[in-house]
């Protein structure tokens, strides 16, 4: 018995870009997404009715490759965009822009008030606002990278922005939030020996993960005012295109699913599994040109400090870097083979724990983690929470959508909260972004 997951096409986001789209970033709280296009624009679509709300133009001179929404913003949305023109743009929009009662919010930003009289009353009429170019205010251009910017990511607090480029560097910027759109360069890391394809912050800590053309994943933390590499994960045999973090303590997700364990045993298993996980922290999932999707786990701090390897893994003598900051990451799992061509994106649902991947073969694959049940073994070792071998899980391929965008390569996939009329509560949708400019929304049901 192996319950499958059904992927069903819900809607396209319309009208689409006429050129390649690279990535679609769901807003952290509002039912909107931002799609990055080779036509140098960013399209903002509604997940409520799947139509275009606005198009951000004029900021970038080449393809827009990446975008990320700043978290914890109230009343205003802030979007960071990265382009092949080597710059990062910061854009701002009042959330109640276009609403009659929103005028007061715009004081001090007179440019936004020009068209409020003709704008839609509730913000639902896209047509009226489409032509209004001042809806999105260009705030600042972050200049520093030497070549194409590939990825941008805001830290959990929203205070730090990480950017990376073909110039092999990662920049960390601090948003000074001084009302003047000033950003300060906090660090420039140049340890990668190839293009840095993706950066992604830990879900709660100030720890950055990066993926590169040099086939490695690296982790970075601040130590005594200095940002430095704390781990270099080798294992992929090709460019690492994308990575994502596991969620932390989601209310709606109780960990891996088990079909064959009795209900009474489940809670004990969960407890044990959770305490193990708590020691390691959230895992990382990555995808690569080598056609694989892999999960990586940090060695629990306790056992790691006993090991003699803490400085050996990074090659940096312990005199320079205190051993306490080094982390040892190991391969937790190679997910079941599902792709015949490079895998460009992977997304780990913070809500359900499902992992989705997609790539050049035009396929969307879904994976689920399950306990491997070895009955009584758990009892004898129940107290030994530091052991990593007591409970094991396996990843199962539970859904495949071939030709998700017809004949086109799919560049990105992301989970977002469902917001259309047919949705019920905490449901999620998948948003996929393809070479022909199309963006599709999918429901995922058991």
């Amino acid at each position: 018995m192996s319950p499958k997951v059904t992927i069903t096409h819900l809607s396209d986001l319309t009208p689409p870009s006429q050129e390649r789209t690279w990535l679609t970033a769901p807003h952290p709280t509002l039912p909107i997404v931002a799609t990055c296009s080779s036509d140098k624009t960013i399209r903002v679509y509604s997940l409520t009715n799947f139509t275009l709300l606005s198009t951000i133009t004029g900021g970038h001179k080449r393809s827009v490759r990446t975008a990320a929404w700043k978290p914890h913003m109230a009343g205003e949305s802030v979007l960071a965009t990265g382009s092949f023109d080597a710059t990062v743009g910061i854009w701002r929009r009042w959330d109640n822009y276009g609403q009659e009662d929103g005028v007061g919010m715009n004081s001090g930003h007179t440019q936004n008030q020009t068209d409020t009289s003709t704008a839609a009353p509730s913000g639902t009429d896209a047509a009226d606002r489409e032509e209004d170019e001042e809806e999105w205010r260009f705030a600042v251009l972050l200049d520093g990278h030497d070549s194409e910017v590939k990825s941008v990511s805001w830290s959990a607090s929203g205070m730090l922005l990480a950017t990376c480029s073909r110039d092999k560097s990662i920049w960390i910027w601090e948003d000074l939030d001084d009302g003047d759109n000033n950003f300060e360069t906090v660090a420039v890391m140049q340890e990668h020996s190839g293009d840095v394809k993706c950066v992604s912050w830990h879900p709660s800590e100030e720890c950055l993960a990066s993926a590169s053309y040099d086939d490695t994943i690296r982790l970075w933390r601040e130590d005594l005012d200095d940002w430095g590499q704390v781990a270099c994960i080798k294992g992929h045999e090709g460019t690492v295109w994308f990575l994502d973090w596991e969620g932390e303590g989601s209310k709606n997700w109780n960990g891996p699913i088990s079909d064959s364990v009795a209900e009474s045993e489940l809670s004990a298993l969960y407890d044990q599994w959770r305490s193990q996980r708590a020691l390691s922290g959230p895992r990382i999932v990555s995808c690569s040109d080598d056609r694989t999707v892999r999960v990586w786990r940090r060695q629990p701090k306790a056992s790691q400090q006993n090991g003699p390897m803490s400085s050996a893994t990074t090659g940096i003598p312990s005199i320079i870097r205190p051993t306490g900051t080094d982390e040892i990451w190991e391969e937790d799992a190679v997910l079941p083979h599902a792709h015949e061509l490079p895998v460009y994106a992977v997304a780990w649902s913070k809500r359900t724990g499902l992992v989705a991947s997609t790539g050049a073969d035009g396929r969307i694959a879904l994976y689920e983690e399950r306990f491997i049940t070895q009955e009584q073994q758990a009892d004898s070792d129940a107290m030994d929470t530091t052991s990593g071998d007591v409970l094991r899980t396996e990843w199962v391929l539970v859904g495949v959508q071939d030709g998700a965008h017809g004949i086109y390569e799919v560049n990105h996939v992301a989970w977002a909260k469902r917001a259309d009329r047919g949705s019920g509560g905490e449901e999620e949708v998948l948003v996929s972004t393809a070479d022909d400019g199309s963006v599709k929304v999918w429901t995922v049901t058991r």
Partner: protein, 194 residues
């Protein structure tokens, strides 16, 4: 390109190059002519079934074979000689292959075109530019259901793996297409294409 890297390349007589009009022994598949050729792996049914998905494909697409790929890329000029890649034997018909991308997926229209490039000298720094030219030519000429696999033939170049990794990197190729200087060089190479 101030200094010519290979000033005396071997050139094949144009009359000896494989062509559709005068089939030669080097051809892999024997088809009567351009209108009767059909790929066994690509029944015409796919093309019509898929036409609604792609504006590139909505005209009834002729099946594409290795000779057609060769014709597309052999007329590209070498960046440092006014001689075609076919005449220099940088590309050759036996080093072109078309295979289904997803053999396990019934009805998948995706096909992978593999082109192996033989640089004129093993340290030719222009190998990347030639490879990029071939890839761009194919991307611009073939329907979107084709996946390009352009590589340096094994053992023919000192940094083949490095070049291959660049040529296979979609993001780098996309960025190169937006690079005016590089595209100028490639446009010049393609002036001899029809």
């Amino acid at each position: 390109m101030a200094e010519i890297q290979n000033s005396n390349p071997t050139i094949i007589n144009a009359a000896d190059l494989p062509t559709r009009l005068r089939p030669t022994a080097t051809r892999k598949s024997e088809y009567g002519g351009i209108f009767t050729s059909a790929l066994p792996l690509a029944p015409v049914d796919f093309e019509s079934a898929l036409s609604s998905d792609s504006e590139d494909d909505n005209l009834m697409e002729e099946p594409i074979d290795e000779q057609e790929i060769y014709d597309l890329i052999s007329s590209i000029s070498d960046p440092e000689h006014p001689i075609s890649l076919g005449e220099l034997a940088v590309v050759s018909l036996p080093d072109i292959a078309i295979k289904p991308t997803l053999p396990d997926v019934l009805d998948s229209p995706l096909q992978t075109v593999t082109v192996l490039i033989t640089p004129t000298i093993t340290h030719c720094s222009l190998a990347t530019v030639i490879g990029l030219g071939v890839r761009v030519r194919l991307e611009q000429s073939l329907p979107s259901r084709f996946r390009m696999d352009v590589r340096i033939k094994e053992g023919t170049h000192s940094t083949g793996d490095e070049v291959n990794k660049q040529l296979a990197d979609k993001e780098r190729v996309a960025a190169a297409l937006e690079n005016g200087a590089l595209m100028g060089v490639i446009a010049k190479m393609m002036e001899t294409c029809h």
